[in-house]
């Protein structure tokens, strides 16, 4: 069990006249190596929750355990927590600043007090792991394409060797191929290195394609927490809270209504195509 969120609540502006509830009684456990999608409309509390996980925001009540230790305990090393639970913000390329990509990626491990050599080894390794083109390592981050900048920024967090990687909308503004490349690479890291990944996303299609589990946030609470199949079967409730299911889910439901006995708990294109093709061929044989 790597991360346990135990009944946390968070209230903004507690001392002002108008306190606002950011999170309300949220409990979760995040086992090692899981790929979790976090969805919810703007302002639903998903980013606030993510910032609790590496101690950037302290809960008003409740606590968080990381590898069995209470992170709010006096004397707990939050700096170490932040290197173990890496957070990649939205548009992380806005935070690239060094003269070369390599120097930028070295910056994080440098802050951990590691030797120069160790930092460089880690930076090189992180850039390789995100599939960053080797010939561009010593160019300025400002000369890169959108997708390359995004990878460089993610490498900067990976160089800290986190056990948990939190990504807030890592594909916003990327072209379709760039989205697939970035998420495909992250999926590969999760599978090959048993990295735990939390992906905050507005794209139901991306979430359906990559994650094992979905947490749906609404008004600061966990609204649903289950497999993509189960979560997307609640598509009507999802619509009520400003979300939706992937488009293929709707098509499956419609076909089922029109008398084709397809499974409706399908949320990716591949699965849907297999399922529809199989059922239509069955029908053709029967006729």
């Amino acid at each position: 069990m790597s991360l346990i969120v135990d009944h946390i609540s968070y209230i903004y502006d507690q001392n002002s006249g108008i306190p606002t509830v950011g999170l309300e009684d949220v409990s979760l456990s995040v086992p090692d190596g899981q790929f979790i999608g976090v969805i919810g409309h703007t302002g639903s509390g998903k980013s606030t929750l993510m910032q609790h996980l590496n101690g950037l925001i302290k809960a008003t009540s409740g606590t968080i355990y990381y590898n069995g230790e209470d992170i709010y305990e006096k004397g707990y090393d939050l700096k170490k927590l932040r290197s173990k639970v890496g957070l990649v913000f939205q548009y992380p390329e806005h935070q690239l600043f060094a003269e070369t990509v390599f120097a930028d990626v070295c910056y994080g491990p440098g802050n951990l007090g590691l030797s120069k050599k160790e930092c460089e080894l880690r930076a090189y390794d992180a850039l390789r792991r995100v599939g960053f083109p080797e010939e561009l390592i010593f160019t300025s981050p400002f000369d890169l394409s959108g997708g390359q900048k995004r990878r460089a920024a993610i490498a900067g967090v990976l160089a800290m060797k986190p056990e948990v990687l939190i990504l807030d909308e890592p594909t916003a503004g990327l072209d379709p191929k760039g989205r697939d490349e970035v998420l495909g690479q992250i999926k590969k890291l999760q599978q090959e290195e048993n990295l735990t990944v939390l992906l905050v996303s507005h794209s139901m299609e991306d979430v359906a394609k990559y994650v094992d589990r979905i947490i749906v946030m609404n008004h600061g609470k966990v609204f649903l927490d289950n497999t993509p199949e189960v979560v997307f079967s609640h598509y009507k409730e999802l619509e009520e809270i400003g979300l939706s299911a992937p488009q293929v889910t709707y098509i499956m439901h419609e076909l089922a209504e029109k008398g084709l006995n397809v499974r409706t708990d399908v949320s990716t294109i591949e699965e849907a195509a297999d399922e529809i093709a199989a059922k239509i061929k069955d029908r053709m044989i029967q006729n």
């Binding site: 990327l174 072209d175 195509a273 093709a277």
Partner: protein
């Protein structure tokens, strides 16, 4: 002047639509320099592009990151001026420096990040900022603010602070701000990239309304293929050039070509394409769930 009026009238009678934006052989290069200011390279961002956009059309521009679509769009309201070739917006050449403000009034631009575009403390002030800036009489400013906010469905929020609105609402305020300038054309550069699904829908339907009801020409740049299916015409860019153009149906039939340009097709089109690969007989260019379901039900 008389001639133009006459031509307009004649075209109207003959059913022609006027060109609102006409790009002819547009070339634009970025010069990259090192710290000492020495030139280290030249990137051709827009490479001899020709594009005719008719008044009242809904146009989409697709292309991967760095394909030149945003650089091209910046030519449509004279943020950039071509090095070679010409851009004519509503009959005015964008290289005429003293006409810049006329052009920007006629062709308004909405960008990706709503937070960078809103300056007012109250929604209606923000929307009124543009017309106030060009000296529109107060009475008329209020009329324009009301009309613009109503047309994006945000009138009931006119007294609110923009800070408390959702991303989709903020983008609709940005669009209202452009509308208050009474433009003939609105250019949106990835207006939904930062929005949740609901916000995306709100913005898209507001833009379609403007196009249909007010006849405003729309030029939409996006990475979401689903947002393009109702456009009149789609242009696809790569390496600064227009490499494909046609109706959404024509363009989205070319699944492999689009994928090789780092793009994609709408989810439904992709599903139909995957089904065809599995031996299911479907026509090309299916764009909506309805079409797909109808075609499939014919088969069993």
């Amino acid at each position: 002047m008389y001639l133009k009026t006459y031509l307009n009238y004649r075209n109207f009678l003959m059913g022609y639509k006027m060109d609102i934006v006409k790009a002819k052989n547009v070339l634009y290069e970025y010069i990259r320099r090192d710290d000492e200011g020495e030139v280290i390279g030249i990137t051709t961002a827009v490479d001899h592009v020709n594009m005719d956009i008719k008044q009242g059309d809904f146009i989409a521009i697709l292309g991967h990151n760095g394909s030149g679509k945003s650089t091209l769009a910046k030519h449509f309201n004279a943020i950039l001026v071509p090095e070679e070739g010409t851009v004519i917006v509503d009959g005015v050449d964008t290289s005429e420096e003293d006409k810049v403000w006329d052009i920007r009034q006629n062709a308004g631009m909405v960008f990706q990040n709503p937070d960078n575009q809103i300056i007012g403390q109250v929604v209606e002030e923000d929307v009124g900022f543009g017309p106030e800036n060009i000296g529109v009489p107060t009475e008329e400013i209020w009329e324009r603010v009301e009309k613009s906010l109503k047309s994006v469905g945000m009138y009931e929020y006119r007294k609110n602070s923009p800070n408390k609105l959702s991303g989709g609402q903020k983008q609709r305020i940005s669009i209202a701000g452009v509308l208050a300038m009474k433009p003939k054309c609105i250019i949106l550069d990835e207006p939904t990239a930062m929005l949740d699904p609901k916000g995306r829908k709100e913005v898209l339907s507001a833009v379609h309304e403007l196009n249909k009801k007010e006849g405003v020409t729309v030029i939409l740049i996006t990475h979401y293929m689903e947002e393009v299916i109702d456009a009149d015409k789609v242009f696809v860019m790569d390496a600064g050039k227009v490499v494909m153009q046609g109706t959404p149906r024509q363009v989205f039939t070319l699944v492999d070509d689009l994928k090789s340009l780092r793009l994609d097709v709408p989810q439904v089109t992709l599903l139909a394409w995957e089904l065809k690969k599995r031996g299911i007989n479907l026509p090309d260019g299916i764009l909506t769930s309805q079409e797909l379901v109808d075609e499939l039900t014919k088969l069993y």
